[in-house]
Amino acid sequence: MPVTSSNDNPDKARRFRDAALPYLDDVYTLARYLLRDPSDAEDAVRECYLRALKHFDSYRGPAMKPWLFAILRNVCRAEYARRATAPTAGIDDAAEAAEQAPLWHETPETPEAQVLRDRDASTIRRLVEALAEPFKETFVLREINNLSYREIADAVGAPVGTVMSRLARARSMLRSAWLAEEEQPK
C-alpha cells in the first residue's frame, strides 16, 4: 500500500484553506494583543497555521475559530517561555500577581454621574493591551473576536464559570483604567 504524507494531500490542503484562512485576521488580532509585538505576532500566526494544518486530520471540532485560538495560545506559551528571561510573565503565571498587584493605582471613588466617554481606538487598544493575563485574553476573545462564552471556554480550556469571572474581572480592571485615564489632563 503506497504511503503518502498526509500533508501533501491537495484535497486536505484545499479544505484546510477554506476552513481556516477566513479567520486569519481573527487569529492575527489575538496574537497582536497577546504578544504586543507585530513581528512576534506574525511568527506566532504562521506557526499556528502550520500546526493547525498538521493536526487538521484529527480536527473534529469545536468550531474552527476557538480551535485555531487554542493552538495559537499554545504557540504563544512557547513565545512567553522564550521571553522568560525578560521580565514579561507568562499567561498563567501572571494571574496570581495580577490579583495581588493591580496594574493601576486604585482610582478614588468617581461620582455616580460620571460616564465612560468614548475613547479613540488607539487609547482603548493601549488600555486593553495593558490588562494582565489571563483576563486580557478572555476579554479580547469576547469583545474583539466576538466569541461566545462556550467558545471562549473551548479555546482556553477552562470551565464557562471561570470564563465569566475572568471577564468580570477584566472589565472591572479596564473600567478603572479607563476612568483613571479620564482624570488625567490630556
Binding site: 500533508n7 501533501d8 494531500n9 491537495p10 484535497d11 486536505k12 490542503a13 484545499r14 484546510f16 484553506r17 484562512l21 486569519l24 485576521d25 481573527d26 487569529v27 492575527y28 488580532t29 497582536r32 506574525e42 500566526v45 504562521r46 497555521y49 502550520l50 494544518l53 455616580e112 460616564v115 465612560l116 466617554r117 468614548d118 475613547r119 479613540d120 481606538a121 482603548i124 487598544r125 486593553v128 469576547r142 469583545e143 474583539i144 461566545s148 462564552y149 465569566m164 469571572s165 471577564l167 468580570a168 472589565r171 479596564l174 473600567r175 479607563w178
Partner: protein, 253 residues
C-alpha cells in the same frame, strides 16, 4: 440575588448569554441596587465604545501570502505551483537554474489569469451582477471595499474624461477575492480589476485581445490592473492612460 452574584451575571446579561429567567433576576436586582445599576450602565457604555472603535487588526498581506505559500498546492505539482513558489521567493534556486523556463511559466500563468479576468468580465455582464455598490461617487465606492479585500483598490472618477464611474464589485480571479471598479463608456462596460502583486515592480501597460475582448494590463505601486471591455483597443488604451494620469495627479496633489 446578591451583589456578588450580580457582579458576575450582569456581564452575561450585557453579552446576551443569560436565559430569560436569569436575565429577569439580574434585572430585578439591578432595579433595586443603585451600585449594580451604575455598573451595568458603565459596562454597557464601555462595550459599546469598544465595539464602535473597531479594535481588530488586519493580517498583513505578506503574512497571508506566506501562509498560503506554505500550504500544499491544491493541484499536483503544476507549473502554476512552481510559479507560485517562484513568486514567493522559495524557489529561488530553481529559478537560477532554469531562468528561461521561469519566464515561460510566468507568461503562461499570466495568460491563464488574463482569460480568468475575461471570464469574470463576462459573468458580470450576464448574471445581472455588475455592481455590489452602485455610485458615481468615488468617495462612496472606495470605502465600500474596506475590509473586503487585502488591498484598497484606487477608485477614480473619470466622468470628466468620458468614462463614467458606475460602482464597485467583489469578484474572484485566480481563486482569490479581487476588487472590480466598474466604468461605463456610452453603452459599454469597462471592468477594472485590481489585485496586489508579490513585487512592487512597475510594468508598462500592454493591450491584448482575448475572445474578442480587449484587455489592458499594467502594474504600478504594488498593484496589478486589468481593464477589460468590448470597446476598441484605442479607447481602452485611452482609458488606461487617463486612469494612470489621474493616479499620478492624485499622488502629487
Amino acid at each position: 440575588m446578591t451583589c456578588d452574584e450580580a457582579e458576575i451575571l450582569l456581564h452575561a446579561l450585557i453579552d446576551g448569554e443569560l436565559d430569560a429567567g436569569h436575565a429577569r433576576e439580574v434585572e430585578a436586582h439591578v432595579a433595586e441596587c443603585p451600585r449594580c445599576a451604575e455598573a451595568l450602565v458603565a459596562y454597557r457604555q464601555m462595550s459599546q465604545a469598544i465595539a464602535a472603535a473597531d479594535l481588530r487588526y488586519t493580517a498583513p498581506p505578506a503574512l497571508r501570502r506566506r501562509i498560503e505559500a506554505s500550504l500544499p498546492q491544491t493541484r499536483a505539482p503544476s507549473r502554476r505551483a512552481v510559479l507560485r513558489g517562484f513568486a514567493m521567493g522559495s524557489a529561488v534556486s530553481a529559478l537560477a537554474a532554469t531562468g528561461l523556463v521561469a519566464i515561460v511559466l510566468r507568461n503562461d500563468d499570466e495568460q491563464r489569469i488574463m482569460s480568468e479576468v475575461v471570464s469574470a468580465h463576462l459573468r458580470s455582464l450576464q448574471a445581472g451582477h455588475l455592481t455590489d455598490v452602485i455610485s458615481t461617487d468615488q468617495h462612496t465606492v472606495k470605502p465600500w471595499f474596506n475590509g473586503k479585500l487585502d488591498v484598497s483598490p484606487p477608485v477614480i472618477d473619470l466622468t470628466a474624461q468620458g468614462f463614467t464611474l458606475v460602482g464597485g464589485r467583489l469578484d474572484y480571479v485566480d481563486a482569490r477575492a479581487i476588487g472590480a471598479v466598474v466604468y461605463r463608456r456610452r453603452q459599454h462596460v469597462i471592468n477594472l480589476f485590481v489585485a496586489q502583486t508579490p513585487t512592487i515592480e512597475r510594468r508598462a501597460a500592454k493591450t491584448e485581445t482575448i475572445q474578442g475582448f480587449n484587455i489592458r494590463r499594467w502594474s504600478e505601486g504594488g498593484l496589478n490592473y486589468w481593464a477589460v471591455s468590448d470597446i476598441g483597443g484605442d479607447e481602452l488604451t485611452e482609458f488606461g492612460e487617463k486612469f494612470q494620469t489621474a493616479m499620478q495627479a492624485n499622488k502629487e496633489r
